[in-house]
Point group: C2
């Protein structure tokens, strides 16, 4: 029974000074501290978050994977690194750096890590080029994208060529919430993470469904983070909206949104037995895969525990959730890691 | 078995020209059409939505209530009428007009309608005065409030005196999502309603829990719209966030958010048997009440059907869901409507 963590985040050990390089700022830097931690800090000095060595040291990650019997991690960057707000040429340079860094780690430990690229979708043409390079030249298996890019939602026609390329390449797409709606007016209690992120994921799923993305690209392999955010629990409202206001909801795709349940994947990060069971019933066991958000505290602190200790899944179902669904999403086999 | 609809919306038949009155615009007007419909239009000419006579005619509502055996409607305004973006003195005048209009309808049909006020919480002191007037002088049983007021969230200390007054008056509070996060960047598919609204309700619940509102005002009677939005399904993530980042989540109230399940009400507008069952198990049958969003299409088009046809509730549980919970929330008895 292979155990693959489909959703976790890694940073390079060192990040170039992009502000100096570009002459304009706003980029994240990594300040290493004497105690081994590092601070992620915007180049205007604004603190973002503290990270532990397991965020930037592959070897530290391997130790902790052993501890929880995680066989493989599918690596993706930390979404704040997308730098989607910058000029696309700048974004591409930052993304290329991240893609090369993850590729180096995967090449060093090819039985333990798989890489997802980051691409400048603030310019879809550049995004396509970077995806092609990352998969063909760097060996990535797919790409992590945000839930929107500024005013560009995932239904935007300018992204359809990107979807076509991703489908043709067999890319595994992880849609991660970023940047969070409402963040400027929810300053307290981490609500951009606790409320904004689940909403962002629902926004992404709705835009892809109603925009006809799954209809037009039926072989696209998309996984949505955090158990699909608030989408699975609000599908009743969403379907009802489609039924009563087709003038608004069906303008680009006249198919009942519920028909796409089972056409995309989600990860298991629900923090709740009832909701994990609910989403597997809604989407099918085959469409749910272990994700942890490692090494961040909002993730599953004991990777795989929710699935492994779940009272309602058979051993076969657990094997699918822990590894089988993710292998299918990646287009890989268990033997690739032996 | 009394059947009370806790969540529905009504408009006055005529709305004054507030732009003319105040010399500044942005307010909603009602343009009656020859076919009996009316258009809600901002005074800058921007169309908001078309409504049917059941939105502004109490007599038409009574007919439709009969049709679905609804005994009582708890009337509240349409949230776009809050006018919370205006100067508070203007908001107060608009809100007073709405409060008097609903009071007139309730006084005409006191066995069929109950009124909820609208108050200018963009200035909490004015809000307190209007709540007092609406309950003491106009006979309202409570108040409908938004999920935030601009940058003012429901945890804001400036609202605590309002909560104290509402608790002391025994006001039933309906928290309705308004205005929607992300609306400016989600132009398609009605997503401010399908994604933004459930997020707004979760934002409201989280701010009230983490802000210590339920802790400080244990007798406050709050009902959240649309089955609590995305909150019930993401309580796992929210509680986990509280556990791992108390520095962010517990700064104002150090109590596990799950302990407040059962301390507030939600309505039944989930459009889904599984989710309705889930929320009753999470909060308790006693804390869930019939709501419909009548007369709007995103609501329950056959008021009460979801509860009445639900396979998992006993007759006693259905009675509680259809009327008992709402009577308790309102502080009223079945005899009040006989």
């Amino acid at each position: 029974m292979i155990k693959i963590d489909s959703h976790n985040h890694i940073l390079p050990h060192q990040i170039p000074n992009f502000k100096e390089k570009f002459g304009t700022g706003g980029f994240i830097q990594l300040h290493h501290l004497e105690d081994g931690h590092a601070d992620m800090v915007r180049d205007d000095g604004k603190f973002f978050r503290k990270v532990e060595p397991n965020c930037f040291s592959p070897e530290k990650r391997l130790e902790e994977m052993d501890q929880f019997n995680v066989d493989v991690q599918v690596l993706s960057t930390v979404p704040v690194m997308f730098s989607e707000w910058a000029k696309p040429e700048q974004t591409q340079i930052v993304n290329r750096f991240l893609n090369e860094d993850i590729a180096t780690t995967v090449q060093k430990y090819p039985k333990k890590f798989v890489g997802l690229a980051t691409v400048p979708l603030n310019d879809p043409e550049l995004g396509i080029k970077e995806l092609h390079f990352a998969m063909k030249d760097l060996g990535h298996r797919g790409v992590q994208i945000g839930s929107h890019y500024g005013n560009l939602n995932l239904n935007d026609k300018s992204l359809f060529e990107f979807y076509a390329e991703a489908e043709s390449l067999g890319a595994a797409i992880l849609v991660h919430p970023w940047d969070m709606m409402g963040k400027d007016t929810m300053p307290d209690y981490w609500l951009p993470w606790l409320v904004g992120m689940p909403a962002e994921t629902s926004r992404a799923i709705c835009n892809m469904i109603f925009g006809g993305v799954f209809e037009k690209f039926p072989k696209l392999k998309v996984c949505f983070a955090h158990g699909g955010g608030s989408f699975p629990a609000t599908i009743g409202r969403i379907q009802h909206g489609f039924n009563v206001r087709p003038d608004l909801c069906a303008k680009d795709n006249n198919v009942d949104p519920r028909k796409y349940l089972g056409k995309f994947y989600i990860d298991s990060i629900t923090h709740d037995n009832t909701m994990l069971k609910y989403v597997t019933e809604l989407l099918g066991i085959d469409k749910v895969m272990l994700g942890t958000d490692y090494p961040f505290p909002l993730g599953e602190l004991e990777p795989g525990k929710l699935i492994e200790n779940h009272p309602d899944f058979s051993e076969e179902e657990k094997a699918r959730l822990l590894g089988g669904s993710c292998l299918e999403w990646l287009g890989m086999k268990e033997e690739d890691f032996q």
